[in-house]
Symmetry: C2
Subunit: 201 residues, 2 copies
């Protein structure tokens, strides 16, 4: 229904531009002036929209966190076996990363430049998200689907293997996000090894 | 033999300081003056040692690449089954990361700020290193130890799962690097799933 679709608001334009610049140059090396020049706004008018540069970083990081939570929450609520839930959570996570690479890069790399209070809150939410993966892993261990792993270390392992996607994924590449998610789920659930056929000698 | 051990040279001090600052603030947000202040040297004297800031980044990135290669090369030359080689390569890689977290962070995150020619050379060497992992995977596929995976994607997957270590590893943490390497090798080789015991119902 194109008649009801809204054009991007000024604040959306500013946010998307800031995401790109923070990703390309890093937060510290990007000035409000740089953002203003890229969107064609002067400082005073820009500050009216965003507050300060750190407010913009906070808005980007919070919005990215919201996106990860929104994708994971329905999967956590499912009645399903843990391996299937983990597979769905992996695909959802890859979906969020690949849908906005700039925001993902800021979420993964630039949060350390948040002010103390906001950094604490950011890390609390990130841990809460990771706890969703821990819950799936714990369910799988309890039900005998997963090996008796340390679910805290394993959750970090899974997310680490997924998060790097933001570094190499290209929207015009050969693998669509769903295929990347399925393949990573195969590797993470089953490992690279396979049972060897019984061989002579 | 402590009598033969050399004190760190001036250039070592400068490099270690630059690694730390590049990691903490990012390359773009670190000036030669910042580095000079941290090591107690003036600009002119500092430039005498390092050339420019980008020369320092290049020196750090190249040295880190040398470290990864030095750890992997003897493993590639071994006559051993692919799963054992992969395990050793994983432990070696974790060893290099954890031995110098600052250098690893610069190697993983700041190389993009190298000049075009050096960035091309850096990426060529990084791909050459990744090719070592591809060779191990390909050996394992050929010999039937590994599933019929895409060894290029799988090599990137393995390195991604390992590289994140530089983000969370703390030298005073509970897991020594060798244990981290062994655990990650278990996960990567065998996956999180286990065969379910045959159960009634």
């Amino acid at each position: 229904m194109p008649t009801t679709s809204e054009p991007p608001t000024r604040i959306d334009q500013i946010r998307l531009t800031a995401e790109r610049l923070f990703r390309e140059r890093g937060y510290l090396a990007t000035s409000v002036r740089d953002i203003g020049e890229a969107v064609g706004m002067r400082g005073a008018s820009l500050y009216h929209h965003i507050g300060g540069k750190e407010d913009l970083l906070w808005a980007i990081a919070s919005r990215a966190a919201d996106g990860f939570f929104a994708a994971l929450r329905p999967i956590l609520a499912e009645e399903a076996a843990a391996p299937l839930k983990l597979r769905r959570a992996i695909i959802a996570h890859i979906g969020v990363i690949t849908a906005n690479l700039d925001a993902a890069a800021v979420y993964f790399n630039e949060w350390r430049h948040l002010s103390d209070e906001r950094r604490t809150e950011f890390l609390r939410r990130r841990d809460e998200y990771e706890a969703g993966f821990r819950a799936i892993l714990w369910q799988g261990i309890r039900e005998g689907h997963f090996a008796a792993i340390d679910e805290k270390f394993a959750a970090r392992f899974v997310l680490s293997a997924l998060n790097w996607t933001h570094q190499w994924y290209r929207p015009d590449g050969a693998m669509p996000p769903e295929t990347i998610g399925q393949t990573l789920a195969d590797y993470l659930l089953n490992g690279l090894s396979q049972a060897l056929p019984i061989s002579p000698a």
